[in-house]
Symmetry: C2
Subunit: 243 residues, 2 copies
């Protein structure tokens, strides 16, 4: 499994991904699921992936090849993030179909989160479905998740608003990741975090290993805050006794 979250707030975009892949509990590997494509000051895009590892690797390899070859359509020349999403969606579908025609018992599906900024367009975050179609965030739904999404969802729902600060959005992504890692063995470190401030032209990338001091601090600190929060909750009304 995988857990990736992408957040779009007014201040910018934040991506967070784990690095564990598995095909059964005794076939576990570490692969980065976060990929950056950028032209400083003008075009900054980040992609995270979930699903069939062969499919996601083939899509990323093809994206890189198209840039290198100066293809007619590539991440270096698409005009909008919508165009970029469409391009990635089409690559993904083509690769899935290539293998599915010989074998329909294996799931070749993959999902992608795409975000960043192209030129003077505002930043955007897109979810690309295995079928190649895609949706963008909106003010009411400022984030997307792919992979093992349920454990980490409540904290996103409680914190994220369009006016949330970029650092708070980054913390929220890390707390959401921590909640997921605790509950699901197939999601694991290293954790990658990418943040992009609107109009900055520069992506900020951090990698947190399993024994990272900051990540351990954050987990401990969040645990303490949650315990303290309980002390400030209203006491339940007097219950009715039932014999």
């Amino acid at each position: 499994m995988t857990y990736c979250v992408a957040i779009k707030v007014n201040a910018g975009v934040v991506f967070c991904s784990d690095s564990r892949t598995n095909a059964g509990v005794d076939h576990v590997s570490i692969y980065s699921k976060m990929f950056h494509f950028g032209i400083p000051g003008y075009r900054q895009l980040v992609i995270t992936s979930a699903g069939n590892l062969a499919t996601t690797q083939a899509v990323i390899a093809r994206i890189r090849k198209d840039i290198k070859d100066g293809a007619a359509i590539s991440l270096e020349n698409v005009c909008t993030i919508y165009d970029a999403a469409d391009y990635i969606g089409q690559l993904s579908v083509a690769i899935q179909e290539k293998y599915a025609q010989h074998n329909n018992s294996v799931n070749f599906e993959a999902s992608f989160l795409l975000g960043g900024q192209i030129g003077i367009d505002p930043p955007a975050v897109m979810l690309i479905y295995p079928q190649g179609n895609y949706i963008a965030t909106c003010d009411q739904t400022p984030y997307f998740q792919i992979g093992e999404s349920k454990y980490g969802k409540p904290v996103l729902d409680r914190i994220l608003r369009p006016d949330t600060a970029l650092d708070t959005a980054s913390l929220c992504a890390l707390v959401s990741m921590d909640s997921t890692m605790r509950s699901n063995l197939t999601v694991g470190p290293p954790i990658e975090l990418m943040s992009y401030a609107t109009d900055s032209g520069v992506m900020n990338h951090s990698v947190f290993a399993a024994d990272d001091e900051y990540l351990r601090d954050l987990t401990r600190s969040w645990d303490q805050q949650i315990v303290q929060a309980f002390a400030h909750l209203p006491t339940p009304p007097n219950n009715q006794s039932t014999n």
Copy 2:
């Protein structure tokens, strides 16, 4: 879907359940999923249920009938909670098999959480699987969930320890329920809460409707606490810029 959680701490047991059942999004009903059986001061048991509603209703009806008929085995005469779990598990399997023999395309499965105290035995909480077998909580795993369990799990993992106070365990169950209701439309009010203090001989039952003032207070208050908690988290280290 359904969400039920049962907690066992040194101070006692807490059960919390929602009341929404659905067979598709346009076939939604309200049914209590919490059932109390007690002899004041001596035997206090609570059951919550998830799964096929016809199965769970048939099991509860049979439990009541066995008590009324003075059956050789009933919740009024089993000697331990393990015996009670075994009895309920056997009823559940028999009812599932009765219908499955005519139709194997429908899922007749049901799960149950059972807890409370019988005589001088310490309180206990059990999870009864659809197959009729069952497990008890332990100090490392002081709670069980049935139904839509993922959204509400992180807060349980962060708060619950064997020495957690009974009121805190009740709050934790309600916060876990609130997180689940926000994220999943098939989990909904009224919310029922049952708490039992060790050796008290009395169950305390509360029901919170959708517009319950306390439940709204709790949700608002928890939201505020979570937002404030973020202000106290350590700032991420200086990121590495990526062009």
